[in-house]
Symmetry: C2
Subunit: 203 residues, 2 copies
Amino acid sequence: MKTKDENTEDHILNAAENVFQRKGMDGARMQEIADEAGINKAMLHYYYRSKRFLFEAVFTKAFSLIAPEINRVLNEDTGLFQKIENFTHSYITFMQKHPYLPNFVIQELNRDAGFIKVLQAKEGFPDFRKFQAQVEKEVQDGTIKPIKAEQLFINLLSLNIFPFLAAPLIKGFLKIDDSEYKQLMEERKEEITGILINYLKIK
Amino acid sequence: MKTKDENTEDHILNAAENVFQRKGMDGARMQEIADEAGINKAMLHYYYRSKRFLFEAVFTKAFSLIAPEINRVLNEDTGLFQKIENFTHSYITFMQKHPYLPNFVIQELNRDAGFIKVLQAKEGFPDFRKFQAQVEKEVQDGTIKPIKAEQLFINLLSLNIFPFLAAPLIKGFLKIDDSEYKQLMEERKEEITGILINYLKIK
DNA sequence: GTCTATAGCCAGATAGAC
DNA sequence: GTCTATCTGGCTATAGAC
């Protein structure tokens, strides 16, 4: 078999990512995906059979891009402070590459919560237990304040992800434009690391 | 004119809230709203003329419920620590009453960012300036660490709102059920207040 | 004001030529 | 594999009786 640089199937998937991530399952149109891919509507069905299946391919791939980001926090072989800093610093870079992705995943999971079970069954789904053990150990050792691993994890995700999800809302409240907002996000690398490490540190 | 306890127009709006907030603009169906209201599809158009107008009525009302919550942080006449505690403690209660609301607002603003301008023009849109002045004053007085009001505001919203937006995702990562998650949210009242006050306090 | 019936359109999906 | 043409169903919106 010959493998072209980028075959039709991949073209379709890329186009579908663009459209689904911006418009969501319900707002997306097969015609728009076909246009984006520069081919015909019938081809979408030839390769993916239905809108539903195409959507699921996009969703699964989206999640497979997020999973390594989460795994970096959960399973990397470094200290807690280092993990917090690594995750926070790399997250903005990730968002610049995939601006619609977290919102897409969260939105579609709210629309169809049962889908998380499909993801959990797949290879590479993040495993929380190692992180939990690490936090418990550091608390035991007295290197950090007593805190639940779950809460720390939620705090880390909240502080990093929310400002991107709610960007239009926050820009509206603060009455600032895109470039000022981008500047704020840049500052948050230090801001978030500072807050969390300050909270964990024993004075 | 006689005012019935709940007239048809309100019935429709309530039903529309249910459906739009769960399904979004694109996923919602006029038929489902009519069923929910226990009346006929034609009535929706009689009272609200189009799906678009009905949606906007729902969206505007949704925002008018959130605005006072934000205003409490921005304009209440209390100290910063008190504001943080008040907002955090009341937010969970608010979410229990309106579980789909913040996700709905954020999602639809991402779909159509221009809509924020309509909201900004309305009465009661939160004004950030008083909060900003307060933070700057407390920094000046040396009662809190130097911090930008914008970042503090973003932190407060992130820590409170995100865990509800991303509930299905976080439940999936932590492999916990609804009641365990609810318990975590309850603990967060103290967790969030602690983090932020700890970060602001001068030791 | 409230209903039934239906117009008119648009989207997902398929048939079939090449 | 790729296209054009078309089917079929569902959705918003309206016409018109009561």
